[in-house]
């Protein structure tokens, strides 16, 4: 999951006028008696509404052996219908309203999203509330869907980035569930058709109102009618979420490394990653870390200029300083021009880190990063669907929208010295994992 801080513009002016906060829209948060949280963001939207159901369960919650990939698989099952609205009927109704409907799963959460005309909101609330409470599928449906998930895995195997990520995580983590990717280990995917009973317990454990947040954005002003609909259809949903005991990753004390073969002559990939803190919008280390990612590997970084523009030994350079619910990974991924360049690229990354440890970044460079992150965020809120998509990770990780303004306020407090301190403290070799993917014939 990425918290992508990309923004549009509508809001900057509004935000400046309304408050010191960055988030430009008024929003309301309500919590039902059963624990279901509802966030409503009215905004002008040419008659459109975005409806997001955010389940705060992702692949990090797959703590039992052999169950990796299950959160994602279960996301697929959520489209298999209920007694009242069997899959065909659900599809027919969604199709008839011309909704743009889909879902995705990340390490930390699962998100079901629809974008549609405001007049269809009552129908959408009814359909979504029904499937979240009354999902019902046959064993045949379950097993067929397992085949589709395997197809998704196969599709990913021709993407070297996905192959790299799988090996990287397996190496970087010992016990935490970030050890596996969201789609899961192949052996577990292959075994999914036999997990029908487990799937039902998964639904009972995780799909509970106290683990779900509904976000509705768009033409919903006044919001009372929307809230009434949600109370009416979700009010009887029984709470009972029990958080899983996600293993705590022990402190890493020695560098790790993995070589990853890829079938075919793809461009080599190099990932240099370090253990990162959990996301907390008030944590100065987190804000400094996200700025550090830009300073280290962004398009105006010395590393980018040297490797991509001058030496041309790297074709793509990406800072991967992600926000995650538990301590995850931060780092740099380089798509390298030739295998023979790998050592010098790895050394250049190490040198760039050492330089950041040695002296603080230029103040104007840090200010440019802050402006970039702020404008990026604001420019990504143009439509209800964009806005909800942008907010979903914030909500999943922090439980609300307030974290946006908290984060940007924290970011303002980041100084060049803070970045230098963080680089020295966090980007230590003993906390690193390096993964190198090379094509083989």
């Amino acid at each position: 999951m990425h918290l992508k801080f990309a923004l549009p513009a509508v809001l900057l002016a509004l935000a400046a006028a309304a408050s010191a906060g960055v988030f430009p829209y008024r929003f309301e948060t309500h919590t039902l008696a059963n624990g279901l949280k509802v966030i409503l963001v009215p905004m002008p939207a040419e008659g459109l509404v975005a409806y997001y159901s955010i389940v705060r369960t992702g692949s990090r919650d797959e703590v039992e052996p052999g169950r990796s990939g299950f959160a994602h698989f279960f996301e697929h099952m959520m489209f298999r219908g209920t007694e009242r609205f069997p899959a065909g009927e659900y599809d027919r109704l969604i199709t008839a309203m011309g909704a743009n409907a889909n879902a995705y799963t990340t390490d930390d959460y699962t998100c079901y999203h629809l974008s549609f005309a405001a007049k269809d909101l009552p129908q959408v609330v009814e359909l979504e509330a029904d499937r979240f409470q009354n999902l019902a599928y046959t064993e045949q449906d379950f097993q067929t869907e397992a085949g589709a998930v395997y197809g998704e895995y196969r599709k990913g195997r021709t993407n070297p980035f996905e192959v790299l990520e799988e090996a990287l995580r397996d190496t970087a983590f010992e016990v935490h569930t970030y050890k596996h990717t969201t789609i899961g280990f192949e052996a577990d995917i292959a075994a999914m058709p036999g997990m029908l009973d487990y799937s039902r317990s998964f639904f009972q454990r995780f799909y509970r109102p106290d683990n779900v947040i509904i976000l509705v954005a768009g033409e919903i002003d006044p919001v009372e009618a929307t809230l009434t609909l949600i109370r009416q259809h979700y009010g009887h949903w029984q709470s009972g979420y029990i958080p899983p005991q996600v293993p705590v990753e022990p402190e890493q004390t020695t560098p790790r490394r993995v070589e990853v073969p890829y079938q075919g002559r793809t461009l080599p990939l190099l990932a240099v990653m370090w253990k990162a803190p959990a996301f907390d919008p008030a944590d100065l280390d987190v804000a400094a870390g996200l700025a550090l990612g830009e300073l280290l590997a962004g398009p105006t970084s010395p590393l980018y200029r040297e490797l991509v523009l001058n030496r041309r030994t790297v074709q793509r350079l990406m800072g991967q300083f992600q926000a995650q619910r538990d301590p995850g990974l931060w780092g740099v991924i380089a798509q390298v021009a030739e295998d023979e360049h790998l050592p010098e690229v790895e050394k250049a990354i190490a040198d760039a880190v050492a330089e950041l440890e040695r002296r603080p970044p230029a103040a104007e460079h840090l200010e440019a990063v802050k402006a970039h992150l702020r404008y990026s965020f604001l420019m990504s809120l143009e439509t209800p669907d964009q806005l909800a998509g942008e907010l979903a990770p914030w909500i999943a990780l922090t439980g609300g929208v307030e974290g946006v303004d908290t984060f940007f306020a924290t970011l303002e407090r980041v100084t060049p010295a803070e970045v230098q301190r963080l680089a020295a403290a966090r980007l230590r070799p003993e906390r690193s994992t390096v993964a190198v993917l090379k094509g083989v014939e």
Binding site: A9, E46, I94, A96, G98, Q143, T144, T266, R312
Partner: protein
């Protein structure tokens, strides 16, 4: 929001005429701009398009249009190094990108109003004052070659299958190579080639300026005055490719991999704006709306059988289907392809999945769309098409494409919605019969089992499907029909190509 017509634009400037001294006749941009003012929008979206796409590549220099455009978008200008440009754009969280397709090259960007002046200066520099620096050329050439030889050949079988389909259908025509070019063509291009191509194809007589969002009244005039500095000239376009398929043919790309990717299609005689395009759109939406579970192909291959991740069909070019949910803008073409995309299936299921998809297409053309399916799809498209263009930048893209297709206000998507209001199932089925003929097909397959699949196809061998899990009797009964469904492809119409030979020249 409203779309200003050329006439309205003339009035806008006429209102200022009295405040300016008379000027001598000056060079002017020939095309009226496409303006989409949205005063409440704090951002401004830009579009600059030129008919300078890859169909204009000289023989032996395939990739020249691509390199020229990317050097403008991702290279130095005579005023700034590329690194200096990035430094200026970065705090704005803005940039400009270029899309190079066979017909059009379109530069786009979006910026907050706070940075409008500085941003538009940088964008104009890129268009008017490209440096065409030697090191930028080498960087971008290297990247383009790596894209063809490493990424496309070895890192995305789905895109590879589609690329093999296009290059086979349009082989020997100006559409016959990918917009990025060929390996030999890219290697042969010199800086002088780039400069000459730029001088010839980037002219004030061909540029179309588009602006959307919260721009002020003065901006269009300022940009047009600057763009008038481009040289004059209208390079002659080649005629659209005239391709007539005879029967079915298969190209199998042999490469190792755990799954088989399949695309098939044929040239489509009509395009956006034609009256039959809209009924055909409905039929195609029912058969294979992109990334949508309402797609019939999706229902047959994925939903009922779990063979893959998705199955879709298209009546217009749709690049980057793997990571895009709605159609792209700025890929207009005078010649389109009808296309079916079957996402990777297990190698053992390839023959079966191909048969299933071809069979569904044949059934659709022969039987037409049932009334219930027609009504449902019509209702779906009425609202779903709103998602195609939900941002100012995308609406601007559609408006610019309307100019290419000669579609006047209120534009293509509005025309669809208007047409849906009166469309009948009979019209849909008549359009299907007129324009889709699955007897003439190119099928592109990426698989490691090339020889075995070729023999199986040619011999019409049965391709029974087995599942790890039980399936309903109805599915199994249909499976028996699919497994024997004739594809009618003789062995001499099946060509096996090693992956490393693709895109060479």
């Amino acid at each position: 929001m409203r779309l200003l017509t050329a006439a309205a634009f003339a009035l806008l400037f006429a209102s200022c005429a009295g405040t300016r001294p008379p000027a001598p006749p000056a060079a002017r941009v020939a095309n009226a701009p496409v303006l989409l003012p949205v005063p409440s929008d704090p951002t401004v979206s830009f579009s600059l398009s030129f008919p300078a796409g890859s169909q204009m590549d000289p023989p032996g220099k395939e990739g020249l249009a691509y390199l020229t455009a990317t050097l403008m978008a991702e290279g130095a200008t005579t005023r700034n190094s590329y690194a200096a440009i990035l430094e200026q754009l970065y705090p704005m969280a803005a940039g400009y990108q270029v899309r190079v397709d066979v017909e059009q090259v379109t530069f786009t960007g979006r910026v907050h109003r706070d940075h409008l002046a500085a941003y538009s200066d940088l964008l104009l520099d890129a268009i008017l004052r490209p440096a065409f620096a030697a090191d930028d050329l080498e960087r971008l050439r290297q990247r383009a070659l790596a894209h063809l030889t490493r990424t496309l050949r070895y890192s995305s079988d789905e895109e590879l299958g589609k690329a093999a389909l296009y290059t086979t259908v349009f082989a020997g025509t100006p559409y016959g190579h990918l917009p990025v070019g060929t390996v030999a063509g890219l290697k042969a291009i010199t800086l002088e080639d780039v400069r000459r191509f730029y001088r010839t194809h980037y002219t004030r007589d061909t540029v179309t300026l588009g602006l959307g969002g919260g721009f002020d009244d003065a901006l269009p005039g300022r940009l047009l005055a600057a763009l008038a500095q481009l040289p004059a000239g209208v390079p002659a376009l080649p005629p659209p490719p005239a391709v007539t398929l005879r029967g079915r043919q298969v190209v199998i790309v042999a490469k190792p991999g755990p799954a088989t990717a399949i695309s098939f299609g044929f040239p489509l005689a009509i395009r956006r704006g034609h009256d039959d395009f809209y009924p055909l759109w409905v039929a195609n939406s029912w058969l294979g709306e992109h990334r949508n579970s309402s797609s019939h192909l999706y229902q047959v291959i994925r939903e009922a059988r779990g063979l893959n991740y998705g199955d879709y069909s298209y009546i217009e070019h749709f690049p980057e289907g793997g990571w895009r949910t709605v159609p792209p803008v700025n890929v207009p073409r005078r010649q389109q392809l009808f296309e079916v995309w079957i996402r990777p299936v297990p190698n053992a299921a390839a023959h079966f999945a191909l048969r299933a998809a071809v069979r569904e297409l044949e059934k659709l053309v022969a039987n037409g769309l049932e009334d219930v399916a027609f009504a449902l799809t019509r209702d779906f498209l009425l609202t779903y098409s709103l998602h195609y263009a939900d941002t100012t930048a995308t609406r601007l893209g559609y408006a610019v494409d309307d100019r290419f297709y000669g579609i006047g206000p209120p534009g293509h998507l509005a025309r669809l919605r208007g047409r849906l209001a009166t469309l009948t199932g009979e019209e849909v089925n008549a359009a299907l019969r007129r324009h889709l003929n699955p007897e003439h097909l190119v099928i592109a397959i990426v698989t490691e089992r090339a020889e075995a699949l070729a023999e199986a196809l040619a011999s019409e061998a049965e391709s029974p499907i087995t599942y790890d899990t039980p399936k309903p009797p109805k599915v199994l009964a249909e499976d028996a029909l699919i497994a024997r469904h004739p594809l009618r492809i003789p062995r001499e119409r099946i060509r096996i190509v090693p992956v490393d030979e693709l895109f060479e020249r």
